[in-house]
């Protein structure tokens, strides 16, 4: 088994002020909770999509997976082995990341050959005589001509640069690829070719793919499994088919309704949501979606709902079985659906 990822009770908090300033004011240090108790299991070879609005913690999750951000509590294991921030070189090879903006994540002063071969040498992946050959193979994987080896990132188009970003991630022969908004900065026509590339690579190399995006249509296209995040929590997870055909959490429903679609004249279901997410510094007590929820009850403001349902489709909502289009407001007396 290789390429499995498991997060248990993962919490990430970032301090908002220095410890000194908090002490001078004699109070707890202000912290923002980016991830608040996330459990996630990604099976080898799976294609998981993670969606949510800005600030929901999806990028923090990506950074935790590749070891760029430490967990405040909880555990992360890759291939059944617990890992933290400090990872040995072989450990780092298992999981690699493709970033959103290839123009800022590639060193502008280096040629593509330098960018790729540096990794191959540092990790001693191929004998030094084979480095150039391996660079050619990597470029072939991402459908770039060999001539790009000699150029610097700024001489490439956005799509080509993202292909270099992918080639760089693949250079270490990872089992898991994490893509954080990897197509968000690209035009649709280019985005389509990069999405195709991800699907091909996944099949060809048997990669586990964790694809993070704010764009539901993109995730729908590339992922078999789906996790919807809201304010640092996973509020719904399961097979993408199940979630798209029968979303159970009111937030997921709103997100689907709000995503503009080409051939669907849609109602303004999403606008029923009032306002915008509350601050992750002062989280609400009960369900964190309650302040915006169209079907909230008193209970939602008191108790914090946990993920519940079948193994292949779970949602963190007390009324998940009642969240159906056009359904009447649930009645408090008949709502023990836990």
């Amino acid at each position: 088994m290789s390429g499995g990822v498991e997060l248990r009770g993962a919490v990430v908090r970032f301090p908002l002020e220095s410890a000194l300033s908090a002490r001078l004011q004699r109070r707890e240090r202000l912290r923002v909770t980016a991830m608040d108790g996330v459990d996630l299991t990604v099976r080898p070879g799976e294609s998981l999509g993670i969606v949510g609005e800005s600030g929901c913690g999806k990028s923090t999750l990506a950074r935790v997976l590749v070891g760029l951000v430490p967990l405040s509590s909880g555990t992360l294991s890759i291939n059944g082995q617990a890992v933290g921030l400090k990872r040995s070189r072989p450990m780092r090879r298992h999981i690699q990341m493709v970033f959103q903006d290839p123009s800022s994540s590639l060193n502008p002063a280096r040629t593509i050959e330098q960018i790729l071969s540096e990794l191959l040498r540092a990790h001693e992946l191929v004998p030094s005589g084979r480095v150039k050959g391996r660079c050619h193979e990597l470029l072939e994987l991402v459908h770039l001509p060999r001539s790009v080896l000699a150029v610097k990132p700024r001489q490439l188009s956005g799509g080509q640069r993202q292909r270099v970003g992918i080639a760089r991630a693949l250079a270490l022969e990872p089992e898991v690829l994490v893509a954080d908004e990897a197509v968000a900065a690209l035009d649709v026509s280019v985005q389509a070719t990069i999405l195709n590339l991800f699907s091909d690579l996944r099949r060809q190399l048997g990669l586990t793919l964790i694809f993070i995006s704010h764009d539901l249509s993109v995730v729908r296209h590339i992922s078999d499994e789906l996790a919807v995040m809201y304010l640092g929590r996973i509020v719904e997870e399961g097979s993408a088919d199940a979630i798209f055909s029968e979303p159970r959490h009111p937030y997921t429903r709103a997100l689907i309704a709000a995503s503009p679609q080409l051939y669907e004249s849609k109602g303004s279901g999403a606008s029923a949501l009032l306002g915008e997410p509350p601050s992750p510094i002062h989280l609400p007590r009960g369900c964190r979606f309650a302040p915006r929820c169209p079907i909230r009850e008193d209970r939602c403001e008191q108790e914090d709902p946990q993920l519940a349902g079948e193994p292949d489709h779970r949602a963190a909502c007390f009324f998940q079985n009642l969240v159906v289009a056009g359904a009447p407001r649930p009645v408090s007396t008949s709502t023990e659906v836990r």
Binding site: E53, D187, A192, H221, F244, A258, Y263
Partner: protein
Amino acid sequence: MSGRPVLVVEDLSVSLARGSHPVTPVQHVSLTVDEGEAIGLVGESGCGKSLTLRAIAGLLPRGGTMTGRLRLGLDGGEPEAYEPAKRRGRGIAMIFQEPMTALNPTMRAGDLIAEPMRVRGIGRVAARRRAVELMAQVGIPDAARRARAWPHEFSGGLRQRVMIAAALATEPRLLLCDEPTTALDAIVQDQILELIAEQKRERNLSVVFVTHDLAVVAQISERIAVMYAGQIVETGATAEILSTPGHPYTEALLRSAPSFEQRAGRLSGIPGHPPDPHAFPAGCRFADRCEYAQPDCRTRDPKLTPLAHGRFGEGHRSACLHAELVGAAETEAHA
């Protein structure tokens, strides 16, 4: 299409002086916007859509020059030539993509909205009262209190609402929107689109909406104009362009967009990239990337002409020499 024209753009070209080699990223664009109509100007980065909008608003970047004719017919009269920079704030208002940089950070929201009214000679108290009213109209909760807040104290969605209120404060007839929802999350984007649509209905506004996102345009506009390499390559009613595109570029763009319905299939994408504005090729500018390209496409310049073929409706125009080929295979397959 039979409405009264509010904005008439004829043969607009925009040049930018970049070093010793001026470029002309917008060439021979013609466009008419009727009263109460929203038109979506769509295209990918660098196609000239924003520059076209900025020319209409008189906001060309330094070194930018335009040729062609712009006419404006605001109060029921015949469209007349206008000075773009002088009409902005007097009949024409514009909202931008990034409200954090477009709003003056040193002014309170209420003052930002009141300022254009003060400029027009409305008294301070009246302007302030009107500003609070407008903030309430665009859905800012607790408007009287929030009028005292600074732009940085608002969330992205509310900031965009403040910008819309400031635009509406000038009582515009024509609202120019430059990717106003691109930086927003799906749910907030939906709310803002709904707000723009509502204000358009209530005030009978004409709207030019620039975006890269066809799905957003499908939601907001009655007509679409698709731009590629500085030219409008297709225009027509929104529903028809989406169902029966008459230009190979539009068709390819539609096939590139992932959607909820078509799952697992491959997206087609468009091979290659748009031509460099320093050296637009002769003939059709899309020919190099076009699956229907014929030898004459590289020599003859296609003009935006009405589509004669029976599949296409009235008012649908395309700049393709072989528009009859576009989507023809699919139509036959269905028949």
